[in-house]
């Protein structure tokens, strides 16, 4: 007997798997390294609410399944400060490449390719309390498969290496991210991404640990050309959870105004608003984002990104 809605069943299975993963992993010591911090200024300005809205090479970090919906090759580079008051910065470079012919339907706003690949490099550096530099660098290889033009699955493998002029702070690690994205309607996108589903991190002279898991679920609305919005929920290995909403207004094709709020439910109730804007011309973009947290945990944090987004 032929099964009905095979794609939808697979999607629901993926969501269910991602949602139970944190509880299945509870109990071990999870490291905060390899958290998905390497996001571009657009995602930053949307307060992270772009699990279903990511539409460029940034998908390698945010949701590898979204690579399947690139319209063409995409490159994105970004830079930002990690923590106010501490000499620190981070930078990333990512590229996404659709493979083969497009399988997008004629009415489909987004692109769609059966296979897509992504690669990314990122680093973060911060000065420790007595002046020693500590750095983390990761390399990521991602792939996305779209069984149909409205649904895609993605996976990303990430390798980590840390360095510092201090004994015991060198570490290596590897982790796997999974992603899913599906159009419920031509203007409604459902997506989920899980970071560090499996993996291992080991500092010198220390026991191996698992990199901290986190998962996000999001629903994005792209009904009108001038508006894109996303609402999502994030849960993490340490019991932290947050809801996030982001809004992108595009009054003219060359300008995008963005804003978002991430509201932490656990471990402390806290709202982190973010704002940003983007300039775009002929596929090339320049984005800026800033977090406007009143009782700032990390202080005023800003990011800038540029690249090619078809």
């Amino acid at each position: 007997m032929r099964r009905r809605f095979p794609v939808l069943r697979a999607a629901l299975s993926a969501l269910a798997l991602l949602s139970v993963a944190p509880s299945a992993r509870a109990g071990g010591v999870a490291s905060p390294v390899m958290q998905p911090l390497s996001v571009g200024a657009r995602t930053f300005a949307l307060a992270g609410a772009s699990v279903a809205l990511t539409q460029d090479a940034d998908a390698v970090f945010v949701n590898p399944a979204r690579l399947a919906f690139l319209r063409g090759a995409s490159v994105a580079a970004g830079y930002g400060r990690l923590v106010e008051g501490v000499p620190s910065d981070r930078g990333q470079l990512a590229a996404g490449f659709p493979l083969g012919e497009s399988i997008a339907a004629p009415f489909q706003k987004e692109g769609a390719h059966r296979w897509s690949l992504g690669v990314a490099l990122d680093y973060q550096r911060l000065e420790l309390s007595q002046g020693t530099d500590y750095g983390e660098a990761t390399a990521t290889l991602a792939a996305a498969l779209a069984p149909a033009n409205i649904v895609a699955f993605g996976a990303a493998v990430r390798g980590l290496r840390t360095s510092a002029d201090l004994d015991g702070l060198g570490a290596t690690g590897a982790a796997l991210d999974l992603g899913f994205s599906m159009a419920l309607a031509p203007y409604l996108e459902l997506a989920a991404a899980a970071h560090n589903v499996v993996g291992q991190v080991k500092y010198e002279d220390s026991d191996s640990e698992t990199p901290g898991f986190s998962a996000g679920f999001a629903l994005a609305l792209t009904r009108w050309r001038w508006l894109a919005a996303e609402a999502g929920y994030t849960t993490a290995y340490d019991g932290a959870s947050a809801v996030a909403g982001g809004l992108e207004l595009t009054p003219i094709p060359e300008l995008a105004l963005r804003g978002g709020v991430r509201y932490w439910l656990q471990p402390e109730a806290r709202a982190v608003p973010a704002l940003g804007l983007g300039i775009r011309y002929d596929g090339y973009f320049l984005d800026y984002g800033v977090q406007l947290e009143g009782d700032a945990a990390l202080g005023l944090v800003q990011r800038v990104s540029f690249g090619l987004r078809r």
């Binding site: 010591v29 390294v33 000065e127 309390s129 500590y134 702070l169 220390s206 932490w264 990390l298």
Partner: protein
């Protein structure tokens, strides 16, 4: 054999031939058929007035004159200018003469332009001459000429700048031209006297270096004038005058205005006056630290930043435009008391402490530990009163669960007695 009527030419053709025979000599005369000559041409006495010339209308070697003598008999004379092609005449640039001439001496002028009237570029050109008539031809050896409208240049490398500390005892420099200098002369003068040195005339190379020892009678003056005069073979000439001010006296030390001896920020702005100085240099704890230009009225302000908490000492020197420096001021002490200080290990292990030091008692002290994604991991709080607070962190979160190895941000907050919020962030890497 053809029949007789075929051998006889038709009457109209005969008439045409007769007409042609009568008019051809006249036509030949009308189109200028070469006159009758008795000897082949010869060329002699070929030369030019300059081997280098500069058609820049400066009144010196602006036009090239090419001389030659035509011998034999009347001939067609062709004089051309060709670009250089690997040491031989190359592409035609200008035809100076192409006409029939009677034997005798003649002169052709070239003002440095091509057939379209455009000034040709600097470089080597060849003048070619040939003559021909009905009995033969003659060709002269190509005549090389260098066209050069670029001025020679010079530089004084020592003294290296306009203001000098101490006495000048030597002036060094060079003069150069792409097509060889003809003459190069340097004159040194001051109130104490003058010294003129002809370095070369004629010069044998494109670049001429010089080093002139300066007599004390000239060097001890306040201003040394260096005049250089260069001329190249094409008649291009430059004359330059350079002034060097000699200043061997150091300025007085700067006068430091009163400053706070106890500060709570890692910044101290030092102000004062520095007469006769161009800038003030400040060293902090024996190391050069900051500098500032002296304003028109003689005042200055130098900011010291980024020093650690604790006692420090600074001193300052004035520096004038000739880089003469005053003796340093006496060391001046100040103490930086960080209002909110903290100490914690860079590699944090379970059981290590976070120490918070206050310059003055505070109402409350809070320590919050975050991941780099901004998630709160652990909080500590203490009531105010003491100047030193210690918090032990066992690498657990607020719910008592173990946290993993990795980087964390430690945020310290305190509320001073006057209500002023104090805040500091530090980073550490926890390892289990």
């Amino acid at each position: 054999m053809l029949p007789p009527e075929r051998r006889r030419l038709p009457l109209p053709l005969l008439r045409l031939l007769a007409l042609a025979a009568a008019t051809l000599p006249a036509l030949a005369a009308a189109v200028g058929t070469a006159p009758r000559v008795d000897a082949p041409p010869t060329l002699s006495g070929v030369g030019s007035d300059y081997a280098y010339f500069s058609p820049n209308l400066d009144g010196s070697q602006d036009t090239l004159h090419v001389f030659y003598g035509l011998g034999g008999d009347t001939a067609q004379v062709l004089v051309q200018v060709r670009a250089d092609s690997l040491g031989l005449p190359g592409k035609l640039r200008r035809t100076l003469r192409d006409d029939v001439f009677l034997p005798g001496p003649d002169t052709v002028r070239w003002e440095g332009r091509d057939d379209s009237g455009t000034r040709v570029l600097d470089g080597l050109y060849w003048i070619t001459l040939s003559a021909a008539n009905a009995l033969g031809s003659a060709e002269a050896d190509p005549l090389p000429v260098i066209l050069d409208i670029t001025n020679p240049d010079d530089a004084v490398t020592l003294p290296a700048r306009g203001y000098l500390s101490g006495l000048i005892h030597r002036v060094e420099g060079l003069g150069a031209d792409a097509n060889r200098l003809e003459s190069f002369e340097v004159s040194l003068s001051s109130l104490g006297g003058a010294l003129t040195t002809v370095l070369c005339q004629p010069c044998l190379t494109d670049t001429v270096r010089f080093g002139i020892d300066v007599p004390d009678s000239i060097a001890t003056a306040d201003t040394l004038t260096v005049r250089s005069s260069l001329r190249d073979n094409a008649g291009n000439e430059i004359n330059r005058v350079r002034l060097f001010v000699v200043d061997s006296l150091p300025p007085p030390p700067p006068a430091i205005a009163p400053y706070p001896e106890r500060i709570e920020r890692s910044e101290l702005v030092i102000t004062g006056a520095a007469a006769g100085a161009e800038s003030v240099l400040v060293s902090l704890d024996g190391s050069a630290s900051a500098a500032a230009r002296v304003q028109a009225g003689g005042s200055f302000a130098v900011a010291l930043r980024g020093f650690a908490p604790g006692p420090h000492a600074f001193s300052a020197v004035s520096q004038d435009r000739a880089l003469n420096r005053s003796r340093p001021t006496a060391p001046a002490a100040f103490t930086y008391e960080e209002p909110l200080g903290a100490t914690l290990p860079e590699r944090f292990r379970a059981g290590d402490f976070i120490q918070v030091n206050l310059a003055r008692p505070a109402r409350s002290v809070t320590v919050k530990i975050y991941t780099l994604s901004g998630r709160l991991v652990r909080s500590f709080a203490a009531a105010g009163g003491a100047l030193l607070h210690e918090f032990e962190w066992n690498l657990d979160d607020d719910d008592g669960r173990a946290v993993g190895s990795g980087p964390y941000v430690v945020r310290i907050l305190a509320e001073a007695d006057d209500g002023t919020p104090l805040e500091k962030r530090l980073a550490t890497v926890a390892t289990r």
